[in-house]
C-alpha cells in the first residue's frame, strides 16, 4: 500500500494547509463578531452616528456601483469585441487601479479634482468632490471599476458573437441584439460583478480617506467610522462597524461565488 499511503501524504499535507487557513480566517471573523458585549452592537446600531454611516455607506456604494456599471459594461463590451490600435496597452491601463494602492489613487483624485482647471470647472457647476460624499463615490468608483470591467470583459468574451449575428439576421439592430441577447446572457457575470464591486465599495477606505476625508457625520462611511471611532477610543462603536462590514462581505462573497465564482476578475 506504499503508493497510496504516499499519495495520501500529499493530500494530507496540502489539505492541512487549507484547513489551517480556513480555521485562521474563521477565528478572526468570530473574534471580531463576538468581541462586543452582547447587546452592545444593537446599542451601537441605535446611535445616530452608526445609522448615518450605514446610510452613507449604502448611498455611496450603490451610487458608485451604478457608475461602475454605466462605464464598465460598455467599456468591457468594446474590450471584448473590438480590436483597435493599442488595445493591449489600454487593457493594461484600465486594470491599473487594481494594482494601485488606494491611498495613491486618493492622492491622484485629490490632485485631479482639487488642483486642475477641470476640477475647478466641476466645482463651479456644483460638483465638489474634495471632502464630500461625492468624493467617496468617485473614490469607490475609481478603485473598484476594474472588478466590474474584468468580470464583464471575461463574461462578454465568453459569449460567442454569433449569437448577435443570429439575432441580427432575425431582425435586430446591433443595439437590439446586445440588449435582447448579449445582456440577458451575461446576467450572472453582471450580477457577480455588481455584487463584488458593491462589497468592495462599501469597504473602500484608503482612497476615500484622502479624497473625502474622515469627517464625522459627513463623510463617515462604515470603514471611516471604524477608523474614527478607533482614533477616539470608542472601541465598541468601531467593532460594531466592523461587524456590519463582516456581515456585508460574507454575504456578498457568497452571492459572488454562487453567480460568478468562476469569472475572472
Amino acid at each position: 500500500m506504499n503508493n497510496f499511503e504516499r499519495f495520501d501524504l500529499v493530500k494530507i499535507i496540502t489539505t492541512f494547509f487549507v484547513l489551517l487557513l480556513t480555521g485562521f480566517i474563521v477565528a478572526l471573523l468570530l473574534l471580531v463578531v463576538t468581541h462586543p458585549a452582547p447587546g452592545a452592537i444593537v446599542q451601537a446600531l441605535m446611535t445616530e452616528e452608526i445609522q448615518f454611516a450605514i446610510y452613507l455607506s449604502l448611498l455611496t456604494s450603490i451610487t458608485s456601483t451604478f457608475l461602475c456599471i454605466i462605464v464598465g459594461v460598455p467599456a468591457a463590451y468594446a474590450l471584448a469585441r473590438y480590436d483597435f490600435w493599442g488595445k493591449t496597452l489600454v487593457n493594461m491601463i484600465v486594470d491599473i487601479p487594481l494594482a494601485l494602492p488606494p491611498l495613491v489613487a486618493g492622492v491622484g483624485l485629490l490632485l485631479f479634482f482639487g488642483t486642475t482647471a477641470f476640477g475647478d470647472f466641476l466645482e463651479s457647476i456644483g460638483l465638489v468632490f474634495v471632502f464630500t460624499p461625492l468624493g467617496i463615490i468617485i473614490a469607490q468608483f475609481f478603485v473598484n471599476l476594474p472588478f466590474m470591467l474584468r468580470i464583464m470583459r471575461s463574461t462578454f468574451e465568453g459569449i460567442n458573437p454569433r449569437y448577435e449575428y443570429v439575432a441580427q439576421t432575425l431582425g435586430c439592430t446591433p443595439i437590439q441584439a446586445i440588449c435582447q441577447v448579449v445582456l440577458p446572457m451575461s446576467v450572472n457575470g453582471f450580477f457577480a460583478g455588481a455584487v463584488i464591486t458593491w462589497a468592495k465599495g462599501i469597504g473602500e477606505f484608503g482612497a476615500a480617506l484622502i479624497l473625502a476625508g474622515a469627517t464625522r457625520m459627513k463623510t463617515e462611511t462604515l470603514p471611516i467610522s471604524l477608523f474614527l471611532n478607533m482614533s477616539c477610543g470608542e472601541l465598541e462603536m468601531a467593532i460594531s462597524a466592523a461587524t456590519i462590514l463582516i456581515a456585508i462581505s460574507v454575504v456578498s462573497l457568497y452571492i459572488f461565488e454562487k453567480y460568478g465564482g468562476s469569472a475572472k476578475f
Binding site: V128, A212, T215, L228, C232, G233, A238
Partner: protein
C-alpha cells in the same frame, strides 16, 4: 482593541443651508468637553457645530489644503501660533491647560514611579506622534528636557495619531504605560503617575477663529463661548484646569 495612527481628517465644505452650522477643527484629546460645549452652544445660539477631530498638526495641514472652515482648536498654543503666522487665524483665546501625565495598567505591574522608569528595560510605552499631535509634541519635549528622549526610544512600542488611541492600547494590554493628558485619565481602568510640575510640561490650549470663515460673526461667537465662564465650567466638569490658573501661573 485598536490602534490607528494619525487620525486623518479633512473637512466639510459646509452644507445644510437650512440650518446654520460651523465647522470646527478640534484636537482629538478635547473631544469629551467639546461635545458638551457643542450641545450647549446649539441650545444657546441655535448653531450646529460640526467637529473634525484629529491630531493637531494633521488638522493644520488639512486647513492649509482646504482653506475653509470656521474654528481651529488644537491641543497646544504653538499650533495656533504657526497657523496665525500662515495667516489662517485672526483671533484666538486661551481656554484650558493640557497637563501631561503617565498612565499605567491597573495595579502598575511594571512599577513605574517616575518618568525615568519609562526607560527601564522591558517597559512598553505608547506616546503620541511627535509631529502629528500636541500630546506627542509635548511628550517629546518633556522627555528631551529630562534627557530621556534617546533612552526611551527602544521602549516606544507605538506612536499614535491621537491621544485617545493611547488609551485603547493601554486598555488592550498592548503597552505598559502611556504619556497622555491628565484630563483623559479614567482612574477606574488605570493608575496614574503624576509628572512633577517642574519636570513637566504644561500646554495652554487656545481656540482660534479661521480667516476663511464665511460666518465670521458666528465663528467668533463660538470662540467667545468656549472661552467664556460657561464653556470653562463644562471643561472643569471633565477634569480640566482652566486658564488662567494659579497652579501654572509661572509657566
Amino acid at each position: 482593541t485598536s490602534n490607528a495612527a494619525d487620525t486623518d481628517v479633512q473637512t466639510p465644505a459646509v452644507t445644510g443651508a437650512s440650518e446654520k452650522s460651523l465647522v470646527v477643527y478640534c484636537g482629538a484629546g478635547l473631544r469629551e468637553p467639546m461635545e458638551k460645549i457643542a450641545d450647549a452652544f446649539k441650545e444657546k445660539e441655535g448653531i450646529l457645530i460640526k467637529y473634525t477631530y484629529g491630531g493637531s498638526a494633521q488638522l493644520l495641514s488639512q486647513i492649509e489644503l482646504l482653506q475653509e472652515g470656521d474654528v481651529y482648536m488644537p491641543g497646544a498654543r504653538a499650533y495656533i501660533e504657526s497657523a496665525a503666522k500662515k495667516g489662517f487665524i485672526d483671533d484666538s483665546r486661551d481656554v484650558v491647560y493640557h497637563v501631561l501625565a503617565i498612565a499605567t495598567k491597573k495595579g502598575n505591574p511594571k512599577d513605574i514611579r517616575t518618568l525615568k522608569d519609562l526607560t527601564k528595560e522591558g517597559v512598553k510605552v505608547g506616546i503620541g506622534e511627535p509631529e502629528g499631535n500636541a500630546v506627542g509634541k509635548a511628550s517629546k519635549s518633556v522627555l528631551t528636557k529630562n534627557g530621556l528622549w534617546e533612552d526611551i526610544q527602544d521602549n516606544i512600542a507605538v506612536r499614535s495619531g491621537t491621544v485617545n488611541e493611547l488609551l485603547v492600547y493601554l486598555n488592550m494590554d498592548q503597552v505598559d504605560a502611556v504619556i497622555i493628558w491628565e484630563d483623559l485619565l479614567d482612574t477606574e481602568k488605570m493608575d496614574v503617575v503624576d509628572i512633577p510640575v517642574e519636570e513637566g510640561f504644561v500646554k495652554v490650549v487656545p481656540v482660534g477663529k479661521l480667516t476663511f470663515s464665511e460666518q465670521p460673526d458666528d465663528a467668533m461667537k463660538f470662540v467667545e463661548f468656549v472661552a467664556s465662564d460657561d464653556g470653562k465650567a463644562l471643561y472643569r466638569e471633565c477634569g480640566f484646569e482652566t486658564y488662567p490658573s494659579d497652579k501654572y501661573e509661572n509657566l
